[in-house]
């Protein structure tokens, strides 16, 4: 790495706040690569909005961990929406103006509910729920997780139960998948392939052109398995109209001017690459990028050139650095100079501090470089510092929220 570059001061991206964005939004979705802190950012924003505004706020999360529940003073929360008690806020020394609610996405339960809603009759519903493929299918096919998250969001949004819904999007191999989920679901039900697959079993009149393929498929998988699949989709097909219509309204919700996306990233190569892709993709689709959130950033002091020079000195000549420390005569324990072993240790401490600063400065320099690269992606950028502790209580979420909200 060129020294000139690593000594450049850390570029601070715009220190924007999210209060205005929240004021203009009904729905905020956080998205980004896995592990960048999407869930925490979503929860922190919701908690802060509930604390600051006279509003009923829901955070809808896919986070499977109990951690967040604990942080909110809940013993756990599932598919049903649960209110966060005022005592949890009180413990953080905050008197909330609004209400904070939390719910988790339970894919299986939500699918069952959806099938119940769209099945033409009870017999079909029961047949679908009992099909051996169904359980596996709901967890694997057409990004069912993504779809169900968007479906749930739409349902909550349409109900008008909340002033603000903050959604933590599911981790998918491509962060963008969930945006396509409604369209893909509609397309899936409309596909000719599905019709083709079902046709021979339905009419017992095999399409001639498809016969060779049918034959190979039969040899590989056995005709009865294909029949199972066909039966399942035949049942599913009965819900076609309902699903397609629904998928369209779900997409509408995402396009609504009161819906915004928060792209969350850490300043590391992989997440930044995904965030870049995501921001561009939002633009291409005409969706609203509310802000770019750079989470877990290192302190700006790591980019200070004078500090770097000092760290270099300490690392190279720790004994000179240690010599500055008052010795012998000072009366406070431990007597750094009195004991040669102690002096030795002090020298080691300076060497370690120097090395550690150099190490972290290198990380900070990479962060600065990446921050510069993503700066043009969004007008509003929020920087959240790396916390040196875990998020274990509501107070910690509110602490995180302070970086996003004017105090």
């Amino acid at each position: 790495m060129a020294p000139a570059r690593s000594r450049r001061p850390v570029a601070r991206v715009v220190d924007a706040r999210l209060d205005q964005l929240v004021a203009a939004s009904d729905v905020v979705l956080t998205c980004g690569a896995g592990g960048v802190g999407k869930t925490s950012v979503a929860a922190a924003l919701a908690a802060t909005a509930a604390a600051q505004l006279d509003a009923k706020v829901l955070v809808l999360t896919v986070d499977p961990a109990k951690r967040l529940a604990t942080a909110m003073g809940l013993s756990g929360f599932g598919n049903t929406e649960t209110v966060v008690g005022r005592e949890a806020f009180a413990a953080a020394g905050v008197q909330p103006r609004g209400e904070l609610w939390a719910a988790m996405l339970d894919t299986k339960a939500s699918w069952d509910e959806l099938v119940g809603r769209h099945a033409p009759d009870e017999a079909t519903r029961d047949a679908i729920l009992a099909n051996p493929l169904y359980r596996n299918l709901t967890s694997t096919f057409v990004q069912s997780h993504d779809y169900i998250a968007m479906e749930r969001l739409h349902e909550i949004h349409a109900s008008g139960r909340y002033d603000l819904v903050v959604v933590d999007t599911p981790p998918s191999s491509h962060a963008i998948d969930f945006l396509d989920a409604p369209a893909r679901m509609a397309e899936f039900f409309a596909s000719r392939l599905l019709r083709w697959l079902i046709a021979p079993y339905r009419s017992r009149l095999a399409n001639l052109a498809s016969k060779p393929f049918q034959a190979v498929a039969d040899r590989l998988l056995g005709a009865s398995f294909l029949a199972d699949i066909a039966e399942f989709f035949l049942l599913f097909q009965s819900m076609y109209d309902g699903f397609v219509e629904r998928a369209k309204s779900v997409e509408q919700t995402l396009r609504d001017p009161t819906t915004s996306f928060l792209v969350v990233t850490t300043l590391e190569a992989g997440p930044v690459q995904e965030a870049t892709f995501f921001c561009e993709e939002l633009g291409r689709r005409g969706l609203r990028l509310g802000a770019l959130v750079c989470n877990r950033t290192l302190p700006a002091g790591l980019g200070d050139p004078a500090a770097r020079t000092l760290a270099d000195q300490w690392q190279r000549h720790p004994e000179q650095a240690a010599a500055v420390v008052p010795t012998g005569a000072d009366d406070g324990p431990p007597r750094a100079g009195a004991d040669p072993q102690e002096r030795e240790r002090l020298v080691q401490v300076f060497a370690t501090m120097g090395q550690s600063f150099i190490d972290y400065a290198m990380l900070a320099a990479r962060e600065a470089e990446l921050a510069g690269r993503i700066a043009p992606l969004a007008e509003r950028r929020v920087v959240i510092a790396q916390l040196d502790h875990d998020i274990a209580e509501l107070g910690h979420l509110l602490e995180l929220g302070r970086s996003m909200w004017p105090s």
């Binding site: 392939l193 500090a307 420390v325």
Partner: protein, 313 residues
């Protein structure tokens, strides 16, 4: 038995923890031990190739270094190869409509895509084309459906060629002398929690044994206890700190604060390491250092391979 004495390793873990880097490092270790290794990128993205600074590989393995072969999984190519081997189908290059049908069935029927991908890998192991196959496997949830594919298919598919294949594949995956999973974690809250969940799921939902947890990105310990006492005294407001500032200026604050942050980060991570150790005492745990300088590319892979072989000895 040693981790690298097995013949098939699935490297998995939460997204972004370092599965690809660790797969590459494991492969390097094995090659250094004189073994012929196939590295397989299971999810199709070219990240393994990037770890070796080579262009992305395809379905046909390429020898990227002496003894080290790289391939990327492609279920359609796997199906084509299978059909060619077993059905002697005159397919030519044109899998066309069949592929579309397969894509559809595979998308709809759980386990079909997975069996094609695990099938290819297991085939390479069975035929002993390599001494060791290292799979850069999909992240957490997804890997379960891959490792459990043979059972899954057995339950759903009563007859047919694919079902017949599941017998030997299942046996191969279930043999702890042959196959094992390696879980990659980082010493942070969510990665540790997810690693423990994944461990539980692999044990209850698959027949594959877990050989080791590789804890990646472990931050260095700055100070021992006595040094820490000295550091605390330097860092807190007082005569030592003011003397330092008098000699070196305000830059002192930045350096001290950086060391304090490094210490606190290390401490909060140590707690997660302990949690992982306590919750999985029966699984070998290997620690790999956090790389501050250039953490990607061949150089990083070599550094981690060195650290691995030191730990595995």
């Amino acid at each position: 038995m040693g981790l690298l004495d097995r013949r098939l390793l699935f490297v998995t873990g939460k997204g972004g923890v370092g599965k690809t880097t660790v797969s590459a490092a494991l492969a390097r270790c094995a090659v250094a031990g004189g073994r012929r290794v196939l590295l397989c990128q299971a999810d199709g993205a070219g990240s393994l190739a990037a770890a070796f600074d080579v262009p992305p590989a395809g379905f046909d393995p390429v020898e990227i270094e002496p003894g080290l072969h790289l391939m990327a999984m492609d279920t359609e190519a796997s199906l084509r190869e299978y059909l060619k081997l077993h059905l002697r189908l005159p397919l030519g290059g044109r899998l066309g409509p069949l592929a579309t049908v397969f894509d559809f069935v595979a998308g709809a029927a759980p386990g079909v895509k997975e069996i094609l991908s695990v099938g290819k890998i297991a085939y390479e192991v069975r035929e002993r084309h390599y001494d060791l196959v290292v799979v850069d496997a999909p992240a957490s949830g997804h890997v379960i459906s891959q490792l459990a594919a043979p059972q899954g298919i057995r339950e759903l598919v009563a007859v047919g060629l694919i079902r017949n294949e599941t017998e030997w594949m299942g046996d191969l995956l279930a043999d702890p002398e042959v196959t094992a999973a390696v879980l990659v974690a980082t010493p942070e809250e969510m990665p540790v929690t997810e690693t423990l969940e994944l461990l539980g799921r692999i044990r209850s939902e698959t027949e594959v044994s877990v050989a080791a947890i590789v804890v990646n990105r472990v931050l260095p310990e700055l100070f021992n206890r006595r040094e820490a006492a000295l550091f605390d005294r330097l860092a807190e407001p007082g005569d030592w700190r003011s003397e330092l500032v008098r000699h070196n200026g305000d830059a002192v604050h930045h350096v001290l604060e950086a060391a304090a942050l490094a210490t606190r980060l290390r401490r909060s991570r140590a707690a997660h390491l302990a949690r992982l150790r306590d919750a999985a005492p029966d699984v070998a745990q290997v620690y790999l250092p956090f790389l501050f300088a250039r953490p990607h590319g061949t150089r990083a892979v070599q550094l981690l391979a060195d650290a691995l072989s030191a730990e595995l000895d």
